[in-house]
Symmetry: D2
Subunit: 330 residues, 4 copies
């Protein structure tokens, strides 16, 4: 049984706590949150110790690994201290909003970053993972065009946008990682943005819709379409098109019920409302992969380098948006 | 070019006239309807001669074949006279509502009935025909269970029910023929009926919903579900289940548009409203098969015997409904 | 926390053990199985006590309720002793294969049977339950025709057939209960059976495919189609048709992936393989409903009477099969 | 009855001839093709006069309108002469490959170009047209993102690529027009291309895959994905996403048959193979719209200006591809 410490007991921290509890190979030993009430609530639900500072967890040699689910600006500090104390780390994305700080962290830690797994949970969604695996078997031949559609149900408050790093670094970073998951390294990024939804987001200097096109190093193309608002739920689709055919991952519904009436036929219910509904199995599978990496001492995937690469692409998208130019990645 | 005479210019006669006009191998030479206006309207639309009695058509040696689309009680007389004059006949179903009269006709005509094709148009629906053909190739192995759902959009006037022979002989006869198309000869018929829709139909002594189960001579099972009313259109589905899998023919929509909104997702439009929308391609293909039979002098299929067999099953269903017994077919 | 005793640690018992473990409102206190190894394995996995006789569980006053998941012939004895000791009971279907024994049990227990919930898990399948709830809201108006298709992936060994009571009492009993869930009490049952799959099943005197039609007391119709073998998995579908439209519960797939290639397009993966995959959420929801009944001391649903009623229908189907008659339910 | 002259009897000319023949409001009076055999074949099939020069048709005052279906370099000359002789014109796209020539034509003809309808047949596809009409009714609120996927079944011979103007002006021009149909005038064009399919096309200096993003004058975004090869047929899809939901036009299949077997379930047949299968109803509806414009003397839509605008976008896409810049439309 791997003993896990949870750093951060907010919404995403609670998701991870449930994944730990559901695992037969790990247990939640201790949790940290500066808000005592938050820490205590999660600790009680899962029989773990509660702390309002991270030190007791980082210093506890019986704890094998930590999950970093605290606010983004604290990620680098916490993951650095954890790996330096010999712990494995599952770190929520992004590593940091500032690439320079990410690079400084990489310089400092060197090979220690091999102990860090990045929380790109969608790689573990059963449908996306199945498409990826089937592409790898050659079922569609050479993958040539990747189409990703990713829309949130509702725009976040403008305050969130200001601290989250904006659409590219906060929301699209998942899709940029998904593109890398399928296409490998990216050579060129081109972005268009729009402000059609939220005047507050526009006032905060961000876009609320975007289309980004990518070319991989080996010449394959991808499009990512994002919207901060979607009337029918959490729109999460992907299509891999290749020489021999296409594999789509369609949206998912809570039931298989279809209604036919005078106005419309075969109507499915609304799709899953948001990431907690859609990606629960993905978070579980992500944590299991993390435990396997802990058990085997192999480098987890996606790793620190994948977190950095996605941030590079998000920044390139921002630059393309500002300049109207296709950005070539170093 | 085969020269065709049309006997009966009502709704179904007009469907056949359009099929003749669309064919490159046939032309509409003359039409008959006791209502001069009806005859003239169809004749003018397609450049044919109009008659208010059938004799000029039956006597015209330049006419190769006739389509019998007149009221059911006239079918036997017209088809008899036509085949005796050496013409091919495409006769709308049913041959007659009275099996004794059908058998008398068979006695009188003998092998001349080999010139008669029965208008079981659904055998020529591209989807049903494709399922049938793929079953024949062995794609699902031995066909074991056949499920037919067939619902009309709205109940006919009670007056129609009285003259049409009732649900089994008027509506389900198509599905009974479809069952024979897939399963061959039927050994047993069991029927349940209901009166949930139209008090007028109940008053006329007929059911407005029914479920019939069949066992074929070689032991395979089928269910037919009928309703005289369907809120979402003309519900016409079939599923052939066998050892290796299943082939379904789903309902068909006028477009491939799907709508996703806050209440429902992937909603298709209403299906085709009724048989003129759904089965236009079937009527065309049926007529082409008839022309091929004329050209090759081969016995058309479905033939007189298929028309008789479907009527036998419809009568057995009625008997089962009255007696609460499974009826064994002679 | 309700303390639960599990009587029977075979395949279905293990399913129930997992549901108890997943509940936040109950805990698995003790398990019984005559095979010590089976009892110990389940007990260890969930931290419960293991017994090779049921007495220690039935006698333990700290245990609130038991789940009867032992072989069918033991159901009545165990549920009788449990309710007489004041415990709630969740009993796997069927209560017994012999209606006379069921009636004797009812005579003996009287109102004590109100403490028994029957394990008709499909009522709790999220899709079937959603259709049922939407029918209740009037979304399709009066429900008129119910179509149930239910096929197992592979025939059981002939030995199982002999002890299980045959297709109607073993397999279709679930569908007969589903029909009652939608239509209420049933007035008439008509059955057809076939032997197209397994000579061993035929030799054991049972059918391996069947079609049953039902008429409810208020005149509505249902068809149930069963097969002991289905090449594409565990075929579990239902369609409720009414005045204003239809609600279907379609089959369910492990992912939302669709493949398009040169031979076929939009191909979904195989559906769930069998009941453990398809009905895990149903078993969970069933157990939660049982706990709610325990907490509120309300009569659980489905109850003993539902278990008896389904058995009556299964026996009527058997009688109809033997006699070729529609059987009227008392 | 409008009398129609057909200029050009190649593949696309034959499609138009069939549309004229199917119309109840027009007749094919005469056809022209420099290859006598081609002209004669079409003329005979539809009872029209055959010519090997266009003059007899252009000079025939009884001919109301012409369809220009000849090679692209001849379009401007023929449409110019036709409108100057008072005839209506339905001109295949593109008007010309050279924008300067198109502008010279516009200068010369001025308002006479109001008699020209451009053959952007996809606007008349029942599914695309339905999506467009429903967007116009406000069903999805403000349209914000348009996703077009358009793939041909197989790459044309390299020789065709050389004379056709390349992927943007030959193939994507349809999709660029579709974007304008939904979004109105376009402000910015950004293109990425790839060469993953055909070395011959690469050698001819063209791309064989492309992704183009557009921003409309009012700030809405569109993506177009093209491929010269698609294993599963003629991939023609569109999704309009707006404030209140999304409307998709999915691919279309020749039948509604679905197959379920051990390897895959609910498999549809291949989609329509190419444009003759998919767009026959669109060509028919396009021609009917043309006849209506002739009858009412109203300006047909899409018109000469739409043909020019699509060419401008195709050229901008080419420029973006060469420069790696987003191109702003004048």
């Amino acid at each position: 049984m791997k003993r896990i410490g949870l750093l951060g007991c907010g919404r995403i921290g609670q998701v991870h706590a449930a994944s730990v509890a559901a695992s037969a190979r790990a247990e939640l030993a201790a949790v940290f949150d500066p808000f005592e009430e938050s820490a205590r609530a999660v600790a009680q639900a899962y029989g773990a110790a509660a702390h309002t500072s991270p030190e007791p967890i980082l210093d506890d040699e019986s704890i094998d690994a930590v999950i970093v689910a605290s606010p983004t600006p604290t990620h680098i500090d916490l993951l650095t201290r954890a790996v330096q104390r010999g712990k494995g780390v599952l770190c929520e994305k992004p590593i940091d909003l500032d690439l320079a700080r990410v690079d400084a962290c990489l310089d400092e830690l060197g090979e220690l970053t091999d102990r860090v797994m990045l929380g790109f949970n969608r790689r573990f969604d059963p449908s996306f993972a199945d498409v990826r695996a089937r592409v790898a078997t050659g079922e569609i031949g050479n993958l040539e065009q990747l189409t990703i559609i990713s829309r949130d149900p509702a725009a976040p408050p403008a305050g969130y946008v200001e601290t989250s790093g904006g659409l590219f670094r906060d929301m699209m970073i998942h899709d940029l990682d998904m593109a890398r998951f399928f296409l490998g390294d990216v050579a060129e990024v081109t972005a268009l943005g729009s402000n059609l939804i939220s005047p507050e987001i526009a006032a905060a200097g961000d876009v609320d819709g975007a289309v980004v096109t990518l070319r991989s190093v080996d010449g394959r193309l991808a499009t990512i379409t994002n919207s901060r608002r979607c009337a029918y739920g959490y729109d999460q689709r992907l299509e891999a098109f290749g020489e021999l055919g296409a594999l789509e991952a369609r949206n998912q519904h809570p039931t298989s019920v279809r209604f036919s009436g005078a106005q419309a036929t075969e109507s499915a219910p609304p799709i899953h409302h948001f990431f907690l509904d859609r990606y629960t199995p993905a978070y579980r599978a992500e944590f299991e992969a993390f435990v396997t990496a802990l058990e085997t001492s192999e480098k987890p995937s996606p790793g620190f380098g994948d977190g950095r690469a996605a941030l590079v692409l998000a920044d390139a998208a921002g630059e393309s948006l500002r300049t109207g130019r296709t950005i070539t990645i170093g």
